[in-house]
């Protein structure tokens, strides 16, 4: 029996493989070049970034040494600011009575002889009640005229004359009876800008 070997079959197969390897080489070369370009770019950027870091480190060192030199000033500044903020917060608790009290004082001026602020109550929300006593009828008229004027009423959001009483008192020395008029008011002041303090 004769044994036959087909030599062309192996050759054909080898040619086919060689083509694939050739293509593979080309692919690897192209990908390698691209990858090398990426690698180069990344390294170039890395060098740039490292340079920036070195510059910034030097800058940071400068700032740190400046701040170290002025450590005491900065600490004082922070403390001052903190206390200032506390003071400004607490100042809001204050009702600023003086300007409101002055408004009432002003109201008594037209009837200055015998007029007196009997009692004054002012709350933080500017709610107020006050009693005014007057001895003379003419002064009562002057006082009433003033409190009905826009100058006075404009100081209040609301004001009510809640009570008027006539008190007759006997003077111990001359035993003459003295008439006292007492006016009780209730209302609330309009806000007066008195500044922070």
């Amino acid at each position: 029996m004769t044994k036959r070997i087909n030599l062309f079959k192996v050759r054909l197969h080898q040619d086919k493989n060689a083509k694939i390897f050739q293509l593979l080489k080309l692919g690897v070369t192209v990908a390698g070049i691209a990858l090398f370009a990426v690698f180069s770019y990344i390294n170039y950027r890395n060098i740039e970034i490292n340079q920036n870091i070195r510059q910034l480190a030097a800058e940071k060192q400068n700032y740190l040494s400046y701040l170290m030199d002025n450590k005491n000033t900065e600490a004082q500044l922070r403390y001052f600011k903190s206390k200032q903020s506390q003071l400004l917060t607490y100042a809001k608790d204050d009702a600023h009575f003086l300007p409101y009290f002055k408004v009432l004082e002003e109201a008594l001026k037209p009837a200055s002889k015998s007029a007196a602020l009997e009692t004054v109550v002012i709350e933080k929300d500017r709610e107020t009640s006050f009693d005014v006593s007057l001895a003379d009828f003419n002064e009562v008229m002057a006082f009433l005229k003033y409190i009905e004027s826009a100058t006075f009423l404009d100081r209040f959001t609301n004001l009510v004359l809640s009570n008027v009483s006539l008190i007759q008192e006997t003077n111990k020395d001359d035993k003459e009876s003295v008439r006292n008029y007492k006016f009780t008011f209730k209302g609330s002041f309009k806000e007066i800008d008195a500044g922070i303090f």
């Binding site: 940071k60 500044l77 003071l87 204050d94």
Partner: protein, 231 residues
């Protein structure tokens, strides 16, 4: 198994295609290098961003400090000392009693009574209801000065005054104490407004600042006669 995939054909392949294998190995090394470089770049970018943020913070602190140079350290220390007396870090009843005495003497309005717990400790707001006597002028002076005259910051939220009897039935006074909250992240800056704020307070308050006793050594005391030979 195909007949071309045997030892002989592998040997043939290595012999013919060793360049391909070398290229593949070089490619893998390159891939590894690219990954490492990329990682290193990411780390560096993070470091750069962190550094940039640190510098921005330091820059703003330094610039705030530079702009605050209008006031000297000693002035600032004085201001802080005044403010720390007005709002101390912790409360004590003696300071309140002393403040009430000072307010009374500054206004001429006599404080007749008040109640205060002797075990006053800690921080916060202490409310004292006082009763006092004085004519309307003294009372108005009291209203004018009570906030700062006692060398403590005081607010009031209720008053009940009787003009005919010249007495105040109730005046509610609030005293404050609180620790300074120092915000390290913030860059405080001293503005014209702050200086005006402090000047306004300084004009109202009468606090004698303690000056550190500095012992100076006279140079004359060092100029004594010296001899070379002690014998």
């Amino acid at each position: 198994m195909p007949e071309y995939f045997n030892t002989k054909s592998i040997g043939q392949f290595l012999k013919n295609e060793w360049t391909l294998l070398l290229m593949a190995a070089a490619f893998l090394v390159l891939v590894f290098l690219v990954i490492m470089s990329y990682r290193s770049q990411s780390d560096n970018l993070l470091k750069l961003a962190q550094m940039q943020s640190d510098i921005n913070q330091l820059k703003s602190r330094a610039s705030a400090l530079q702009q605050s140079q209008a006031v000297s350290v000693s002035e600032l220390e004085g201001a802080s000392q005044v403010l720390s007396q007005l709002v101390p870090d912790s409360e004590d009843s003696f300071s309140i009693i002393y403040a009430l005495e000072k307010i009374a003497s500054a206004s001429g309005f006599i404080i007749d009574s008040y109640s205060l717990s002797p075990k006053l400790k800690g921080m916060g707001k202490v409310t004292v209801d006082i009763r006092g006597s004085g004519d309307i002028n003294a009372f108005m002076k009291f209203l004018e000065v009570y906030k700062f005259a006692g060398s403590r910051f005081v607010t009031s939220d209720k008053m009940d005054y009787s003009g005919s009897k010249a007495v105040a039935k109730t005046i509610t006074l609030n005293f404050y104490s609180d620790k300074a909250v120092v915000d390290e992240t913030n860059s405080p800056q001293l503005t014209e407004k702050d200086i005006a704020f402090f000047n306004e307070i300084k004009s109202k308050v009468n606090i004698v600042l303690k000056e550190e006793a500095t012992q100076t050594l006279s140079t004359d005391s060092l100029n004594y006669q010296t001899v070379e030979n002690p014998f």
